[in-house]
Point group: C2
Chain length 582, copies 2
Amino acid sequence: MLSDIEICRSSALLPIANVAIQAGLQDSEYHSQGQYKAKVSLDSLKRLQTNPTGKLVLVTAITPTPLGEGKTVTTIGLAQGLAKLKHSVMACIRQPSMGPVFGVKGGAAGGGYSQVAPMEELNLHLTGDIHAVTAAHNLAAAAIDARIYHEQRNGYDDFEQRSGLKALRIDPKRVVWKRVMDHNDRALRMVTIGRNEEGKTINGYEREDGFDISAASELMAVLALASNLKDLRNRIGRIVVAYDLDGAPVTTEDLQVAGAMAVSMKEAIEPTLMQTLEGVPTLIHAGPFANIAHGNSSIIADNIATRLSDFTVTEGGFGSDMGFEKACNIKAQMSGKAPDCAVIVATLRGLKANSGLYDLKPGQPIPDTLFEQDHEALKAGFENLKWHINNVNKYGIPAVVAINRFPQDSEEELLQLKAMIEMLPNNVEVAISEGFASGGEGTLDLAQKVVLQTQRKVTFTPLYRLEQTTEEKLMAVAEAGYGAASLTLSEKAKQQLAEFKKHGYDNLAVCLAKTPLSISTDGSVKGAPAHFDVPVRELKLCAGAGFIYALCGNVMTMPGLPDKPAFMNLDLDEDGHIIGLS
Amino acid sequence: MLSDIEICRSSALLPIANVAIQAGLQDSEYHSQGQYKAKVSLDSLKRLQTNPTGKLVLVTAITPTPLGEGKTVTTIGLAQGLAKLKHSVMACIRQPSMGPVFGVKGGAAGGGYSQVAPMEELNLHLTGDIHAVTAAHNLAAAAIDARIYHEQRNGYDDFEQRSGLKALRIDPKRVVWKRVMDHNDRALRMVTIGRNEEGKTINGYEREDGFDISAASELMAVLALASNLKDLRNRIGRIVVAYDLDGAPVTTEDLQVAGAMAVSMKEAIEPTLMQTLEGVPTLIHAGPFANIAHGNSSIIADNIATRLSDFTVTEGGFGSDMGFEKACNIKAQMSGKAPDCAVIVATLRGLKANSGLYDLKPGQPIPDTLFEQDHEALKAGFENLKWHINNVNKYGIPAVVAINRFPQDSEEELLQLKAMIEMLPNNVEVAISEGFASGGEGTLDLAQKVVLQTQRKVTFTPLYRLEQTTEEKLMAVAEAGYGAASLTLSEKAKQQLAEFKKHGYDNLAVCLAKTPLSISTDGSVKGAPAHFDVPVRELKLCAGAGFIYALCGNVMTMPGLPDKPAFMNLDLDEDGHIIGLS
């Protein structure tokens, strides 16, 4: 079989203007960015706001292996399948970070015959939105350190007289806004900044700091959750970047940098229109993580797509305990639009890995034994799938299981799994999905099942309401959501809760940051764990995004490069084409 | 008078396709990026290579004040003036860094009625080229630290067995590739990276590092000097990022990251087409500094523009001792195309400041006295202008002085200055230039004088040939170029010279990094200094760019933000338009 980039390059793509017309956009509502990309103007929403809202299909997954279960392939494949059934359809996905593209994981454009194209443009700079987020984020960081430096240089009084500004008296030990970079750069996780060369003092004062990958920026979550430019501007202004010497929060508005940050993100707020290999219009917008943020494509993109098409297919990061939970409790509560159907992606290898009998690691080859028939492992891992089906139903949302087929899978075992799902008491549908090998032709059954399930009446039930206390909301996700026996706040987390409440931050959503490799907070516990505790180590306030996130275990916000990073394969050929991208 | 952004927004702009047609590009040779920008494909050069080459006009300046003398205004104004005279003309300028836009200086799109439009797009992300340079640069940095980390983790043998790669044995104390960011961020000048949180060792090893502003990246110079994509790829591979434990250079090619860096810059190699307020096609490409790099727009942009138009107007950073010198000795020797005429921008205030009687500082208001008639100061400062005229003539290039008029200037003094220039024995022409206030109408006289001077025969004479020794080349710039009495290499610089030679780096150009505020290396020495020494503290090898740069005095490669940064004025208005950008 051809590589992803070979398939992508050998496909005939439509000029983006044709894709825009097909999507139902008018000429003035988009701006082409080269041949195959366009920025969609938010003015389009003014015209579209009275349109009926189409069905929103959210693709989620079982508890994934570190290799992923093919959620984006299924999302794009399903969109193509729905188009083949003559439905009007769009896909909405997140913009991939360049860190993983150059690091371990490779691209995130889907794969095989279910890709967003041109995949190299999607996987690299696209239309610069992540760069704009990075620039806005680091501008605030520079503003913080410059302000501390100038205020401390000759004292606060001198600063106020010199500048005519009020001193903010930021506590250098309580700056909570790190810097970001869109790379996997382990060496930047913890840094000391403001160092002085021997004998020089021009660089200010030293303090401990660190870099996150750009997708972990609160601004990325802000971009994904904003409803329009004004809302973006206001959310940015609410971001707390530090505390002053009295313990009061300091915002970007206090630093008078919120306006410039919004200016930097003015174009990023427009979703990027692309197409799948079969010409389905696809919006790419924002790329928040699914642990420390809510892990879904943007509200704005969904809003445009659902008003243009009968079906919008989108995806949430990791399993249904992660991106799907946050799509329901954070995103849907902010947007007012709940998913009409959830597609749960399952794979034979993923379910067997959920038996706990295999140990898969990213960057290492999959053991051959995982593709051999193993009924015991499948049966054990099936508990995990059942958990995710029940989880989706818990929110009142109908489910379809998409068994994403890999070439090595045995037909017999696939049918066995399908039969096991069909035996379940839930009103769940199931289809074998072959989007990778066959594009939309490979997802026709899945698409039909999805159409069926979206005809059901949805009584959407989030796990909590924003008016509840933060502690109640955290417990709701842990207990009603994960099925944990308890949630335990550390002393630090308790103090933080009290502090946030004191400063008026008690009506925010909650976002639990935990390992995606288990439903529990321990990545080694596979299947469908019960009787576990969710220990909350620390809380982080994201007042701009509108949630408090809870660190449950170690969550890495700056990945590292492996021994042999993916970038080693990348180059330009004699004709200037990119090679080695997958 | 209206602000720059108000003038820009109230001007009727042409759709970029019309600008492209006017420039002589064919449909397949550009890709629109929104309404007013387009990327110009390098394929255009295949068709154009047999076209005759138009005249290249390089705008330079007297020794500038920290406020600048209006070189970009004159460049854009002159291009508009030439267009009004019915000549076919294009302008080529550098992409502004966002650091100064948010910091002190503001935008760099020209000003008044001589601007590149839309100025907010030029001044912010444009088409993402600086972001692409930043991403490629920092990818190499992450690759270096990841490689050191993995090689040291369990020793070189273990690394080689595990990865199948040869250990590079990079000396962590001899990494010469810093990280970059497109912000004025003082706190990042010197940082300690790879720090470990107490009890954790996942972050690797500590080492001292720092950030430069992105415009200072060698990749920016590489982009500006490359002749095509293949040359870009090869230059990137030659970049020396570190030395190993035996003192041998380690390149990006050794790290196997050069291909991925070129992939990241694949779109950045295409110049961005925009227009001036009067519709003159303008190419924006690359933005290297004029001290540690050569400070001129790209060879590729010049190459396209000179083959499309009869006149190409471009500019070199700072005074003629800086950007112009490097345009002649570095850029023209690489491109094979020397300027046909130089325009020296002079201002009354700038010449008076060159008397040494005034002390101007960036970010502080200009003393009113500078605009009062002061014949003594003007006469003293005039020596500086004479120096720059002689300097331009030294290379065999005809000169035109453009007296850039400010609203406060006295008519009498302007005419006095004009008369003084007309009395000079050189074949120099002079015109008063009012591009800021009147656009092309204000530069008609200047444009006529430029046409006149470009009809002279040019016998271009660079100061050195690449075959000379590095020391000879450095002395040529200092003595024949600046008129210094001597050049003194520090012990460190001497050792470095020997080391570079040993590794075969002796046929490169030289690039002297010194203050732009004096012809000498001491910024407080104004006018036309003589009998001075040029002390070289340290050398830096830029094997990819193709030059060795010599640090003569302190050169700041990461600016800081002032008390009240320009970003405080920036915001979005009710309609989502950017306000406060100048």
